[in-house]
């Protein structure tokens, strides 16, 4: 008796066909792409020992290089700090303009998003060429280039975080009659702040690693030493640099963690 009732009331199981088709299509795309670029896992497995050759050349790291490169590392950090700060400031308006739940005008939001997309497509090489010509081969050009580069990352990650915030406080700001700026300051900002801070610190970290762009505008920094060590095939020095950067990155990560804990 139970079963007959089950059958009569049970809704039709929704067809998962389109979902499976989609999955299949994705799989086919990936598979075809892999074939196209001739990614044969077997070759990788067979030759993977070749990596050891390079790794062996890296060991042991040339610790003295850490001392040699410290001034450059400090330069990199200070340029990254300023570049990230500027990028952070510029990305604030951009991220709000790109968030669908902040600005209801589809036109405005979509235009901002496309603009952000284009901005992110400009390669660092090109940024370097432009700003070196405008501001000279100087740290300033590097900082400006880094800040443009940072806007792309911070704004992109942050506007997605904004779109995921709780709608409740936003409604309550509507209800008290707040204008847009107040609405953002009281409803949006406190909610995205932890994310925003963590993305800024993440970008800071990227900027320290994106040393190449600084080298390109003649601003020196750690990138120059990477190139030099590579140019002389001094992989032990390269490893020293990697470990040095790792230390800096881990420190930034710890700071980020602490701040997030405070804010979350």
């Amino acid at each position: 008796m139970m079963d007959t009732k089950l059958n009569s009331e049970l809704p039709l199981k929704p067809s998962r066909l389109s979902f499976y088709l989609l999955l299949l299509a994705l799989f086919v795309i990936v598979f075809v792409s892999a074939l196209y670029i001739e990614a044969d896992p077997l070759t990788f497995v067979q030759n993977s020992s070749n990596m050891l050759d390079l790794i062996a050349r890296m060991l042991p790291p040339d610790w003295s290089y850490i001392v040699t490169t410290t001034p450059a590392m400090l330069d990199t950090i200070r340029m990254a700090l300023l570049g990230t700060t500027m990028g952070m400031i510029f990305s604030i308006p951009v991220m709000f303009l790109c968030a669908r739940n902040v600005f209801k005008s589809k036109w405005l939001v979509e235009t901002s998003r496309i603009a952000l997309n284009i901005l992110r497509t400009i390669p660092d090489l090109l940024l370097a060429a432009i700003f070196a010509a405008i501001l000279g081969f100087s740290p300033l050009a590097g900082i400006v280039a880094l800040s443009i580069f940072s806007i792309g990352i911070i704004a992109k990650l942050s506007f997605e975080a904004i779109e995921n915030i709780d709608n409740g406080p936003l409604e309550s700001m509507d209800a008290v009659g707040a204008n847009k700026l107040q609405w953002i300051a009281f409803g949006v900002v406190p909610q995205v702040l932890p994310h925003f801070v963590s993305y800024v610190l993440y970008t800071f970290e990227i900027n320290i690693r994106a040393a190449a762009i600084l080298g390109l505008v003649g601003a020196g920094g750690i990138g120059l030493f990477y190139n030099r060590a590579l140019g002389f095939f001094a992989y032990d020095q390269v490893l020293a640099l990697i470990l040095y950067t790792l230390i800096v990155v881990i420190i930034i990560d710890l700071i980020s963690l602490k701040i997030r804990e405070k804010l979350l």
Partner: protein, 267 residues
């Protein structure tokens, strides 16, 4: 009154904390700014900017298609293929590491710190080193490019994944714990369904970055659009740079459209 006293004390403590923070930041920025000098706009500013803008206004259309190959279309297609396989590889590797690094999934913070450290390590590996490692294994070409991008993305994707997991609602996981589910079941029933949208958007973001990772691909001789772009910039052929960048933007926008249409159906 008891409450006003403690209120005052709280306010004082807050003020002291903020002042300290302010002093630290001020010192930091003073140090950073000390190295800067502004020399004004240089003579070269205008000619270069003008030429670059000109290049973008009149892009090198002849580069779009070339019957011999080595044109924009084929470069983009190959870059697309590299980016797709690369992102799949990094997802496969970054999901477990990301889950490992998420603080709220492990009982002891030491465990998640291990995951975070691993991710930091992957983030510090320079692209060029990855490129060298993989070129030694599989030779120059798209395959090595895919590997370098795929492994290079683990650090970033894992970090974004871990943060997504850390921000999720603990309730559903708790309910799986309460029915006696093991770790894997907690993940499958409590975590993954919640974080899936976040994972997907982080993955798409990374895919997009892969599309733009000209430098890595150029180093490796991957045959995508990376090498020509780098040469065009180094050779200051701005019209060529223009057409390549337009091509990349168009592909990224199309992929964006398709993926957001798909996402509406899956998520």
């Amino acid at each position: 009154m008891k409450s006003t006293d403690s209120l005052k004390r709280e306010r004082l403590i807050r003020r002291a904390k903020y002042s300290l923070l302010f002093i630290i930041l001020a010192a930091l920025y003073t140090w950073a700014f000390a190295s800067l000098e502004f020399r004004g706009l240089l003579d070269t500013a205008w000619p270069v900017t003008k030429n670059i803008i000109n290049g973008f206004i009149s892009p090198d259309l002849s580069y779009i298609y070339n019957p011999q190959g080595e044109d924009l279309i084929r470069g983009l297609l190959e870059t697309l293929a590299i980016a797709i396989v690369g992102v799949v590889l990094s997802v496969i590797l970054a999901v477990p590491i990301g889950l490992w690094a998420a603080k709220n999934l492990s009982k002891y913070s030491l465990i998640s710190h291990g995951g975070k450290g691993t991710l930091s390590f992957f983030r510090t590996l320079p692209d060029i080193i990855l490129a060298l490692l993989f070129i030694k294994v599989v030779g120059p070409g798209a395959y090595a490019g895919m590997l370098a991008l795929g492994i290079g993305a683990i650090g970033m994707l894992g970090k974004l994944y871990a943060e997504e997991v850390e921000a999720m609602d603990p309730g559903p996981v708790e309910s799986i714990v309460s029915v006696g589910g093991n770790k894997l079941e907690q993940l499958a029933f409590g975590v993954i369904p919640q974080v899936l949208p976040g994972f997907i958007s982080a993955t798409l973001y990374r895919f997009e970055i892969n599309m733009r990772s000209a430098a890595t691909l150029g180093v490796i001789g991957a045959g995508g659009i990376g090498t020509p772009l780098i040469f065009a910039i180094q050779g200051r052929s701005w019209d060529r740079v223009g057409i390549i960048l337009i091509g990349i933007v168009v592909v990224v926008l199309i992929v964006d459209l398709i993926s957001s249409a798909l996402r509406k159906r899956i998520v």
